[in-house]
Amino acid sequence: MSTDYSVVGKRLAGVDEKDKVLGNIVFADDFVMPGMLHAKVFRATKASARLKKLDVGKARALPGVACVLTAADVPHNESVKNVVGQTTEVGLLEAKHQVLVRERVRYWGEPVALVAAETSKIAMAALKLIVAEYEDLPAVFDPLEALKPSAPKIHGNNNVIASWKLRKGDVAKGFAEADVIVENTYRTPRQEHAHLEPESGVAWVDDSGVVTVRYAAQVIEHYRDIATVLGLPESRVRVIGTLIGGGFGGKEDVTVEVFLALLAWKTGRPVKLTYTREEMGYGRHKRHPYVLKYRTGARKDGTLTAMEAEIVSDAGAYVYLSPWVLIYSTVHSTGPYLIPNVKVDARSVLTNNIMTSAFRGFGGMQTVVAYEAQMDELAARLGLDPLELRKKNFLKTGDVTASYQEITSEVRLEECARKALEALGEKAVASSPRRKVGRGLACCWQSYGRMTYLHDTANCWVNLEMDGSAVVRSGIPDLGGGQRESLRAIVAEVLGLQVQEVHVISTDSQVTPLAGTVTATRALYMSGNAAKLAAENVRRIVAEKAAEMLGVRPEVLEFRDKTVFSREDQGKKLALTDAIKQCLFQGKVPQSLDTFRAPFTEPITSDVIKDPVFPDFTFGAQAAEVEVDTETGEVKVLKWATAYDVGKAINLNRVEGQMEGGAAQGLGFGLMEDYLEKDGLPLTWNLHDYLIPTSRDVPDIKSIVIESESGKGPFGAKGIGEPSISAAGPAVANAVRDAIGVRVSHLPITPERVFFALQGREKA
């Protein structure tokens, strides 16, 4: 272990970072084209209604307006997609989407018409001239109400759009064996991604007739969705991704790209569309709010005997990725614990709230809130130390989970939890008698890589130039997590180059080999492995030639500092450039296009998950110390530590950055953030009413990077993007519980909720 790498594992100052501090990055909204139009979206102001009348005549007639589009103008306005791996109970799910409202409005803010005009001012004026008349339809906003047979139906005949179960052992027997059983219902918030960069892009039809959209794309494969809506061959649509100003899943589903393509296609002119901050609120999906009813039993010594859970997620008005989010919840619902008897029933249900879909943590993290609170409640009831109780139950390598997946990588949970707690140091003394200090621990597991029944692949192309520099071509978008910097480091490591000598061309659907989405903590695992494969193949081509030139075996050759030398006889060496030139001269081009394939499994055919769903898991822990004002309910976070086994850190700075950023975003989830709606009407559109953590809300964060080198990614790496957030909210929730002795089970833990909890009163 701990192989000596020259690039990997170091604190690398990336190439992109320099351009970022110099102000050189051309983000999506920074891009302009001559003759460019400016677009705006006209949105419904009803949560559930029939669109009786839509009059865009006056808007179209306004001077300076180039185009107003309604559903009737969209070639393929409605789409129905079968969701792979959907449950049999609900039936093969037909996820229905509409680009623009044709007849029925299902959530407040649903897009109804598109305007493109010479200036954004004119486009705004045109929006005011559009007349829409609605007839109210019955609506449902509470997911538990939406489950009832009498509830209004959002689509079709059933509001339940996904249902997954875990069945292991016999929970009745397990609870009979328990000395103590704790039962509680937890609620989690509708979190907004709140990336700093709004959704934005520019579209045009290029001089070969290709509809081109340059936008902040988390998934460049959306060129296919655009082609479907426009009725064009996929080869006639191109997505050029930009460096993204934060995504976190917010730019994973379709946002501006289809609107942009429609307007450019219809007008033949370049068009820009950038969402306002308000529109990011009511125009884009959020994290699913969950209701989690948990019952957990343990013996006196802390050994778990049974766990039973009912989980309901609010999918909002459209299906989006809800069934996938729910399968994450179901698989992760036990926590990283070996429990002999498990029964979990999870459902996702449609409502007239804003749609919910991908967000860092993807259904896994809501369950951490419940299972980690349960662990602390059990520990309190049994008089055990929270870590001791967890240690009795941690999964180990070789264990089989309640979803019947064997754990194949290392599980360093005990080390993570211990080090996180130790990093908090001495417990603080309360600053006044009315304030109480407490600390909390939360452990978690989170998969990395997509569901294996999706048969995920990533492609990458690497070549060496004549001057010894390398070029990488990968479709991978960079959200800011350093996705393309990682490829630079991996290829530099394999070919013995400096990172500056590797150029990455990324995120262009017609230029770069597709590498798949930057979602599901899959980017490093998938595109990193693909880049490593391609770089190794390029190295092999050069090594064979160099071996021939030096009269040695290719296996003994090392590549370092643009020199190829024999490990056995360092006198036998030549310049990398000389080897490359010889390769080219003899037609052996030092280039390779490779595909990395994740493990493939069959689609799940039963509602009960009985087969492995994910390639592997990342394990970790976070610990927080808080001070709670028992008079006002205010929670001040004093200390924070986060510890994860990342397998192998490719860039230590970036790994810590993920861990710290995840902790802060999870702190927001735990204490501050909830996108509020009143009967479907959004209430928190702006960043002054939807508050995210500032530099004063977040304490110093200690990051502890543990490297088991046991992951499935390059050099034994696991994924860290999503795992980094999952344990944060639950850790702070447990800290508040420790401070005040009362459980606040509804996140975020606002001062109001703390206040009422202390008074023994429930407050929704």
Partner: protein, 159 residues
Amino acid sequence: MAKTETYNIRLTVNDRPVSASIAAETTLLDFLREQGFIEVKRGCDKGDCGACTVILEGKAVLSCLTLALQADGCKVYTVKSLGTAENMHPLQKAFVGHEALQCGFCTPGMLLAAKALLDSNPHPTRGEIREAISGNLCRCTGYQKIVDAIEAVSKGAYR
């Protein structure tokens, strides 16, 4: 649409003279971006996020809450005034060295908020650093490495 009255303004941006005829309601953010200073970012247009921070007459201000007219005759500095690729400002070097950024969208505003702090208070405490950048939201980093980077510069590193 009714013809709006326009006003002529003259100012310097990064020591370069800029003049234009603008409508009274034009914000400094709109003005700067229209003039090509796209390094000034629009994150919310409401004064909530700090991404549009520029330095106006020595003070860090939110350009989305400042009228361009208010900058008439003034000196405005964007992140491009700090340094170049060959000659980076210590704060820029520190942000790279500490990886005090991820997506980079808040970075131009964050750097200017940090510069305004160090110009007026060269040796701030960590608490003062956190206070000074509390109007600049970052969703990626958790602020840890940003505070570390600013503190390092205040202690003489990266000079």
